[in-house]
Subunit: 342 residues, 2 copies
C-alpha cells in the first residue's frame, strides 16, 4: 500500500500538499489536486478511515440494531437503510438482538465503542432501563417500526392498520372475528391487539374471548412456531368456538395459522379467512396469497436515516413521532367468503 511520501515523490509535490489534498483541506490548486489524486489512485493509496475518524470526530458509521434479521420484514428494512447509508457515504454495523435485552445492551455498548455517529434501533423492550440511560448520552438514536417516548421514532400506525383489517373483514360479512397473536409487545400493550379490539368495538360487534388465540411474543423465530402450536392445540379442544375470520398479528404468524387450519381440514379462505400484517414479499408468493397491511418499508428506512443524519449534523435532541399511514392489501386469503355469500 502506498504512503503519502511515495505519492508526494511521484507527483513532485510536498508531503504537506498530499496530506492537504487527501484530507480535503482548502488552499491547493485544482491542477495539483488532480495530480495528487491521480497518483493516489495509481499507487492504490488506501484512505485510513480509522485515522480520519479520530481526527475529524466523524466515523461515518451508523449502528443498526434489529430484533430478528431472519424475519423478511426486518431484512427489507436492513436493505432500505443500507442503500440510504451508502448513498450518503455511511457504512452500517448491524447487530441482531433476537429480542434479547442483554444482547441489545451489549450491541449498544459495542456500537458506542466504535464511535458510531448514531443508532437506528428496533428495541427488544422499549421501556428497558438501559434505553433510558442511552437517552442521557449524547448519541442520536431513532427508533424504527415502533413508537418510543424516549427517542424520535418512525413507524406505521399499528392500531389503525389493525382497524383496517377488521373493517375489511366486517365489510365481507364476517361477524365472528378472531385475533391470533400476543397481547403485549416490547413491555407494552400490543398495538395490533388494541387495534383489533377497537375495530371490533367500532363495528358494534361483541368482543368474544373465545375467538382470541393468545400466542407468545418476544423471540420472533420462536413466536411463529408458537402460533402453529397454539392454533393446533386450540383446534384440538373439543368445545372450541371457531371464528370465521382471523387477524394474525404478522405475516409469518398468518402463514403458520393457515398451515395449522389446513392441517385440520379447513380451507382458507373457503372456511376461514385469515389476514396478516407487514406485506412481506412472501405474502404475495404464498398460496393463498395473503390479505395484509402494507408498511412502507422503504419510506421507514429512508426517513429514519434522513432524520438520524439531521440529528447528527445539528445535534438537536427533540423527540418526535413520525406516524406513517398503513394501507390495506386485499388478496386471496380473505376473498372467497365474499364470493360465496353473494
Amino acid at each position: 500500500m502506498a504512503t503519502m511520501e511515495e505519492i508526494a515523490e511521484k507527483a513532485g509535490v510536498s508531503q504537506a500538499t498530499v496530506s492537504r489534498v487527501i484530507n480535503g483541506y482548502q488552499g491547493v490548486s485544482e491542477k495539483k489536486k488532480k495530480l495528487v489524486m491521480d497518483w493516489a489512485r495509481k499507487l492504490d493509496y488506501q484512505l485510513n478511515m480509522t485515522a480520519q475518524s479520530l481526527k475529524n470526530n466523524k466515523s461515518y458509521l451508523i449502528g443498526l440494531i434489529i430484533s430478528d434479521i431472519s424475519n423478511p420484514y426486518f431484512a427489507e428494512i436492513v436493505h432500505a437503510v443500507e442503500k440510504e447509508a451508502t448513498r450518503n457515504g455511511y457504512n452500517i454495523i448491524i447487530c441482531n438482538t433476537e429480542s434479547n435485552i442483554q444482547r441489545e445492551k451489549e450491541a449498544i455498548n459495542s456500537l458506542r465503542s466504535r464511535q458510531v455517529e448514531g443508532i437506528l434501533l428496533v428495541p427488544a423492550n422499549k421501556n428497558a432501563a438501559h434505553l433510558r440511560s442511552l437517552q442521557q448520552k449524547n448519541l442520536p438514536v431513532v427508533v424504527i417500526t415502533q413508537f418510543s417516548k424516549l427517542f424520535t421514532s418512525v413507524a406505521v400506525d399499528h392500531v389503525k392498520g389493525s382497524e383496517l383489517i377488521i373493517k375489511h373483514l366486517v365489510d365481507l360479512g364476517h361477524t365472528k372475528i378472531g385475533y391470533i397473536g400476543p397481547d403485549k409487545y416490547s413491555g407494552c400493550k400490543e398495538d395490533k391487539f388494541e387495534g383489533f379490539k377497537k375495530g371490533i368495538k367500532n363495528s358494534n360487534l361483541n368482543l368474544d374471548s373465545d375467538y382470541i388465540i393468545k400466542t407468545a411474543g418476544g423471540l420472533p423465530e420462536l413466536s411463529s412456531q408458537d402460533v402453529f402450536k397454539k392454533v393446533t392445540s386450540f383446534l384440538k379442544t373439543s368445545d372450541k368456538k371457531i371464528a370465521t375470520a382471523y387477524f394474525a398479528y404478522n405475516d409469518l404468524a398468518a402463514f403458520e395459522a393457515i398451515k395449522a387450519f389446513e392441517d385440520f381440514g379447513y380451507e382458507v379462505p373457503l372456511d376461514i379467512a385469515i389476514a396478516g400484517f407487514d406485506n412481506t414479499s412472501l405474502s404475495k408468493i404464498n398460496r393463498p396469497s395473503l390479505t395484509t397491511i402494507s408498511q412502507p418499508i422503504k419510506t421507514i428506512g429512508h426517513l429514519a436515516f434522513e432524520i438520524l443524519l439531521e440529528k447528527i449534523s445539528k445535534s438537536e435532541s427533540d423527540t418526535e413521532s413520525i406516524v406513517l399511514s398503513p394501507s390495506l392489501i386485499i388478496r386471496d386469503s380473505t376473498l372467497m367468503y365474499e364470493k360465496i355469500n353473494k
Copy 2:
C-alpha cells in the same frame, strides 16, 4: 463520558495504571485491575475502539458483502455470521451489492478504508478483475455460498444438490423433467444447470431443450420476477411441450413458477411437480410446501467466520475449497405424483 484521568483519581492509582488495565497490558495486580475496571464501569468509561484499533492494528471489524439481503437465504447467512462475530468480539459491517459489480468494488474500497480485518464475500461475478486485484492485497477474504479460484470458499456442492433433485424426480416416475433458471451465474456456468444436465444424463433420459425455461440471472430481486414472466410467456405459446416436473434453481424461483403454473390452471403437484433449492424458511410455509435442497446455512456462516479468523491470526494465504454436502428435503410440491401413480 469519563476520562482515564477521572478513573485514576477515583481509583487512587496513576493514569498509567488505568491505561495499562484498559488496554489489557500485563504487570498490574489483580486487585488494582478490579479497582480500575469497577470505576471505569461506574463512571461509564467508554472504550474508544477507533483509537484502540489504530494503536493495536486490530479493528475487530469484519466486512460482509452479500448480493441481496432481501432474499431470505442471504438474510439467514447474515444472521449466522453476525451471531458468530458477536461471540468472537467482532462487529460486522454489511454491504449489499444487488449483484452490481460497481457497488461491489465500492463496498470493498469502503471496507478497506475502515481497516476491516477480513471480508466474507458473496461475489457478484467471481471472475471480475477487481477481485483479482483484491487477491493481491494483504487482506483475508473468504468467499461464501460459491466456489472461487481466487479465495478460500465455503459452499455446498450445487451440482450434487441439483443431481439429488433430479434423482428424486426420476424416482417418482417422471421422465419429462425441466429446468427453470439461468444457465450462467457470476460469469461462469451455473452449477445448478450443470447438475440438472448431469442428473438427466445419469438417469439415461434425453436432455430436451423444450423443457428448459431459461431466465435471467443477476439482480436477484429482478430474477424471481423474471421467472414469473418467462414461465408465463412459455405457457402462453401454443406449441409448447410441458414437462411433468421442473427443477427451479432456487426457492424464490420455484414459488414464482408455481404461481405462474397455477395461474394457467395447473395444479402443483397434481399436474406439475416443482422443486426448488435453498430450503429457505418459506419453503416450509408455502402451500404447497416445497421440495428443495437444504444448504447448511448455519454451518456456512460458522465455518466461514472461523476460517476467516484463522487467516487473520496466522496471516496464511492458502486457498482451499470447503465443500459442504447438500441434503434433499422432500415436501408436498413433488409428492402427489407418486401417490397418484401408485
